[in-house]
């Protein structure tokens, strides 16, 4: 409970800051024409990217999970790779390739390619569970191919699809780096500008409030649209029969090749191209690559530990004592997930400046920011693995003479180890690729990989920037590979059982 209150503090600070500036100052700042421009931009982008990611994500998931598409194992491995490349790196590679990619078009292209795995993952997980016999029964009842798909398969992936779209929308609202690079004006870029230009905290907090309201609206809409569907556990009893593509395999392969080519191939090859170019130091003191990497690793790892340690008691209590309290915690965690990192970082800046000045620009504040931002991820991972643990293990340990604490240490925690590892890895990965909060909160005199990349990139030193971007991607891919090995649904070892449930609930719309 205490942990959750701490996690929610940013919202309180934000309101307090707005109140401090006076509502008389805040209201005109909210209702000015700039706000409407930003809102329009955001809605346009939201509609385009959500529709595109939904189509691409569902198509890729169906081809990989339910058809006899050739090279399925390869596609399954590479189709989620864009998640390991930060969106700001994708944006930078496209812009450095051709200046045509900018504005609404550029932002739509880059965000679609960067975010479609968020739809793919839950939909693929749902499709894997859909029983072929349902489709066959529908066909036997006189429905054509397409109508049978529409009426049997679609309802079963609806919740997953909506959950994926929610994550895409929240991702769009929170994104800063890619939009700044592509010169596309949204709330985040504007908040950042207001904040950096002589620190106009009133305007920044006014716009942050609008952003928070938008996030809450998105979450609310998702909650209303999602009916709780009874999800059948375990393997489909009627078996999974794959749809035979026949000659359709050729366009299908082409589709996958183009998708992966644009989503992974272009960023990767552009990055490699810039890596081979000589460094172009322009007007900035050189930032040591390894030093920046060291800071990134240190802060990300500390945040991963802190978030996991903080989330464990919450997850444990929620699983062990289900009820109103745990539902409340669940909702609150969900809300935090909807808060853009920029808002959390800003509120921590306000907090430090006003209440705890020694913390301002200290490493601790950055680690705290990461921990709050990625607390929900840790909570989801831990909860998912704890839910899989039957209570019998704990009880049996008690009957063999263990006190509750010792039963926790000797049985529950070792058995939850995959979930704990996943939690640490997820938070670590997210913190390594984080840019927005890092830019605001990085300690004085310190450069992480992300801030160093940002500094060079803003000076159009694309070749130098590529070194830092490449290292971020490499560091992010390592836990990514580690996790996909653990999370691979085809691996069926005893210890994998808990982890498969974990990815299932993570991908089920990202809700704890």
């Amino acid at each position: 409970m205490v942990v959750t209150i701490l996690v929610l503090l940013p919202v309180v600070f934000l309101l307090w800051q707005a109140g401090h500036a006076g509502w008389g100052t805040i209201w005109p700042l909210i209702f000015r024409s700039l706000t409407w421009t930003l809102l329009l931009n955001t809605i346009e982008l939201g509609v385009i990217v959500t529709v595109c990611t939904a189509v691409l994500g569902v198509a890729a998931a169906w081809l990989i999970e339910r058809t006899n598409l050739p090279l399925r194992r390869f596609w399954r491995a590479v189709v989620v790779l864009p998640l390991a490349i930060p969106d700001f790196v994708i944006g930078y590679t496209w812009l450095s390739l051709t200046p045509v990619v900018h504005g609404l078009f550029g932002a739509s292209l880059v965000m679609t390619l960067g975010l479609y795995p968020l739809v793919y993952l839950p939909v693929a997980a749902a499709l894997r569970r859909v029983d072929s016999s349902l489709y066959e029964v529908a066909r036997s009842l006189g429905l054509g191919r397409f109508r049978a798909l529409l009426r049997t398969v679609l309802p079963q992936i609806r919740a997953a699809l909506l959950g994926g779209c929610l994550m895409v929308l929240l991702g769009l609202l929170a994104e800063y780096g890619a939009f700044e690079i592509l010169r596309f004006q949204t709330f985040t870029t504007e908040i950042f500008t207001e904040f950096n230009l002589g620190i106009n905290p009133a305007a920044a907090s006014a716009l942050s409030l609008v952003l928070v309201v938008l996030s809450v609206l998105v979450i609310g809409a998702e909650l209303m649209l999602t009916r709780s569907v009874a999800v059948r556990a375990g393997r489909p009893s009627g078996g999974v029969r794959r749809y035979r593509l026949g000659w359709g395999a050729v366009p299908s392969l082409l589709f996958m090749a183009v998708l992966i080519g644009l989503g992974v191939g272009v960023p990767a090859s552009t990055l490699i191209y810039w890596l081979t170019q000589p460094a172009d130091l322009v007007g900035i003191a050189p930032i040591p690559l390894l030093g920046a990497a060291g800071y990134t690793l240190l802060y990300s790892f500390l945040a991963a530990l802190a978030a996991t340690v903080a989330a464990f008691p919450v997850a444990y209590l929620a699983v062990r004592h289900p009820g109103r309290l745990s539902r409340l915690l669940e909702r609150l965690g969900y809300l935090v997930q909807g808060l853009p990192g920029l808002v959390i970082a800003l509120s921590l800046v306000f907090f430090a400046v006003r209440l705890a000045y020694p913390l301002y620009q200290s490493p601790a504040l950055l680690v705290i920011a990461y921990s709050i931002m990625f607390f929900p991820m840790a909570l989801i991972s831990l909860r998912a693995s704890l839910v899989q643990l039957p209570r019998r293990f704990f009880d049996t340990a008690r009957s063999l003479g263990c006190s509750p604490m010792s039963a926790l240490l000797r049985v529950t925690i070792p058995l939850a180890a995959p979930g704990i590892a996943a939690s640490v890895a997820l938070v670590f990965l997210s913190a390594v690729t984080e840019l927005t909060a890092t830019l605001l909160l990085v300690p004085t005199g310190v450069q992480t990989l992300a801030t160093a990349f940002w500094a060079y990139q803003s000076q159009v030193s694309y070749a130098t920037a590529s070194r830092y971007a490449a290292l971020i991607v490499v560091i992010a891919v390592v836990p990514g590979v580690f996790m996909s090995r653990w999370l691979d649904p085809s691996r069926s070892s005893a210890r994998g059982a808990g982890v498969r449930g974990l990815i299932r609930s993570i991908t089920r719309g990202g809700r704890p």
Binding site: R392, F393, D395, R398, S399
Partner: protein
């Protein structure tokens, strides 16, 4: 002195009463089976005894020591009750080897001694200490589970339907080995089951649990042949319930005059009663005109034996158990003879 004494225990989950005044006494060194249909409260009773759940009211005593008096004060936590627990599917810790599982409840110094190997030998698993639970068969897992429960030398071992998930062919063997291990060390056992064959064949003492109340407790023969009420009679096995009238210190039914089992409450004076005749108390012989006769309506052949339904005038259709060889066919006319004392309840005691 009883090893375990449960008196008047109540337990509800969110307004749904599960245990409604359960009382039970278990003698030291004995094996007691708690027999009940699913939902009767068997598992809840075990969990309350083990201390995983708290009793709402009532008392639980272990060898004279109160471990749960229905109040949080003085309630002994599970780890200090010294009760071994064998859950339904064994619940072996998947992150530990067989040796690690068995040694789990031992003091650190005793974990590497010969004791663990002795226990594994007792349950017939010598040499498998290095295996992990998922490398064992279901029967082996249950044997590890009993070894693990016995390792800290508990005062009492609770077994929660430990054989229900095993294949029928395997069940009898594993059951014999697990319960054999329990008897070898002389530990008191309480076995929960919904299988009346299991309860009657292995336990020294059977307690029938129905809707959160123990309806009857006693040695298997007594409970089977002299059930407390018609419901218990039917729950423990096939029961023919025939109307009768008290007569000459015995009872007369459509099947003739029967000796009555001693005990039981009977209506004063004469009167109408319900009579329990077990299927194996009736023998069939070829039709002869001067006996009780009936017509076979159905013959269910089970191999080793057969269950024959015989329609008898004034008694209805009766079930008769006989050896599989020489069983009559539907339509045959047969004569019936009844053996042994019968159990009698006052009319309307259903």
């Amino acid at each position: 002195m009883t090893a375990l004494s449960v008196s008047g225990v109540y337990k509800s989950y969110a307004d749904t009463p599960v245990l409604r005044g359960v009382s039970l006494a278990v003698a030291p060194g004995s094996l007691t089976a708690i027999l009940g249909a699913s939902g009767a409260g068997k598992t809840t009773l075990l969990r309350v005894i083990a201390g995983f759940e708290a009793a709402d009211a009532g008392t639980i005593e272990l060898a004279g020591q109160v471990v749960d008096g229905g109040q949080s004060r003085g309630r002994v936590p599970p780890e200090r009750r010294h009760i071994g627990f064998v859950p339904q599917d064994g619940a072996l810790f998947p992150h530990l080897t067989v040796h690690g599982n068995v040694a789990f409840g031992l003091a650190r110094s005793a974990r590497h001694g010969p004791f663990v190997d002795e226990l594994l030998e007792l349950v017939g698993l010598s040499g498998l200490g290095g295996r992990y639970p998922h490398e064992l068969s279901g029967g082996q897992q249950q044997r590890v589970a009993i070894a693990r429960a016995l390792a800290p030398r508990p005062r009492l071992v609770l077994l929660d339907e430990p054989f229900a998930s095993l294949d029928a062919s395997l069940r009898a063997t594993v059951r014999a080995e697990v319960l054999g291990a329990l008897r070898a060390v002389g530990t008191t056992g309480v076995l929960v089951t919904h299988d009346q064959d299991e309860a009657l064949s292995v336990a020294d003492y059977v307690a029938v649990l129905r809707d959160g109340v123990i309806t009857q407790a006693g040695p298997p023969r007594e409970v089977y042949s002299a059930p407390a009420d018609p419901w218990t009679a039917g729950f423990l096995g096939t029961a023919n319930l025939v109307p009768g009238v008290l007569q000459n210190q015995g009872v007369r039914t459509a099947l003739g005059w029967h000796e009555m089992r001693a005990g039981g409450q009977l209506p004063n004076g004469g009167g109408e009663v319900t009579v329990l005749i077990r299927p194996e108390q009736i023998t069939l012989s070829p039709h002869s005109p001067d006996g009780i006769t009936g017509k076979v309506t159905e013959a269910r052949y089970h191999g080793h034996d057969a269950l024959i339904a015989v329609d008898v005038a004034d008694a209805g259709v009766l079930q008769v158990r006989m050896l599989g060889t020489g069983a009559p066919a539907p339509g045959d006319e047969v004569s019936l003879t009844t053996i042994g004392p019968v159990t009698v309840w006052p009319e309307g005691s259903f």
